[in-house]
Amino acid sequence: MAAVTADQTTQKTLGTEDAVDADRVAAFDAAVAADERIEPRDWMPDAYRATLVRQMAQHAHSEIIGMQPEANWITRAPSLRRKAILMAKVQDEAGHGLYLYSAAETLGTSREELLDKLHAGRQRYSSIFNYPTLTWADVGAIGWLVDGAAITNQVPLCRCSYGPYARAMVRICKEESFHQRQGYELLLALSRGTEAQHAMAQDAVNRWWWPSLMMFGPPDDASSHSEQSMAWKIKRHSNDELRRRFVDICVPQAEALGLELPDPDIRWNEELGRHDFGAIDWAEFQAVLKGNGPCNEQRITQRRTAHEEGAWVRDAAAAYAAKHAPAQSSTQAPAPNSAPAHHVEETA
């Protein structure tokens, strides 16, 4: 990768490694402190790079795995309008995954490596997608609550210190707003429908509420990565702070829907100017994280199968490209097997 090559060159010219490192650390720290963006070919601490790869990979994987629970309902959408909307949403999730994979690749990892690690269970995706979509109302609850929680998390990421990640998030947040609104509208239609439809909407909210709160991650005092990520301005707000913000947003939205949030302890706290809410079952969160959620096995198996069954398409496209590549031209596309370039222009 370019950054590595540049490092080595400079070290040779300037002599002692320590002095060079000190200069670079200072330059990096100053850029972060000044709220400037770090770009792919800038020097950055190894741990910063590793943290970003871990977080962006998990984020990209979540988008791709997140296609499954909703795609489950495309063939059974109750109208052509709803079906077209749902297909557009699932296609967006694929797009979001691709923006994020591209952004992650600027850090020196490859698409192939990222997918291998997902398939081998060595990189995670959001636990929320290990819950099943049992009824049509779940599509609405996912849009309102799951995408709503994601937006609350993602809006501050638009100001993340790593340029390509921040730019990907700007694009994603713009598109995510449609996801949330279509879900809310879907739930509203059910809530105002027949008694059975209303009950279906309430049941979906009952099942998705708590897992949505868990999407913000462990409480601040138990979050292993938070402090360093905040110092690096990868993260701008703590897990608990974002979770509280989300609850405050949802309470009036639930009222407007005519649905109840399944937490008897939610009440306005005049003194703190925010809502109090009940205790989250972190044992459940840990269990799902460890692979014991309702759908962990199903999700990863389906992802692996899709990848394997798509191999012939990738092979055919590569064979076609090789066959039709211009013989000897300086402007030709790189051969399919050549090593991918680093992103010269930062992506996304």
Partner: protein, 96 residues
């Protein structure tokens, strides 16, 4: 063979409307230029964000190095006289 190897990387530039330049939108993998264009349409113009797309193999781009950015761009640093605000013009002089 290729299923175990990534397709080449392409940088995507989108012209959002006539009269504007193509702007870097992001990157993607594709086996050839034609597929790169189609993928770019699906990935970067799902909401009519463009009227024209360029795809360029990432290997075809030569970039300046961030390590030498100071010295590389230094020649322009001490030439404020290239800007119109460098010059003092008496009050009341118009169209200048």
């Amino acid at each position: 063979m290729s299923s175990s190897t990534d397709w080449p990387l392409w940088e995507v530039f989108v012209r959002s409307r006539r009269g504007l330049s193509h702007t870097h939108a992001g990157s993607l993998h594709a086996p050839d230029a034609e597929m790169a264009l189609r993928n770019a349409r699906d990935l970067y113009t799902r909401r009519s964000e463009g009227v024209s797309i360029w795809v360029v193999p990432s290997t075809g781009i030569t970039a300046s190095s961030p390590d030498e950015k100071d010295s590389f761009f230094e020649p322009a640093g001490d030439k404020p006289y290239r800007h119109p605000t460098f010059y003092e013009i008496p009050d009341g002089v118009k169209h200048l």
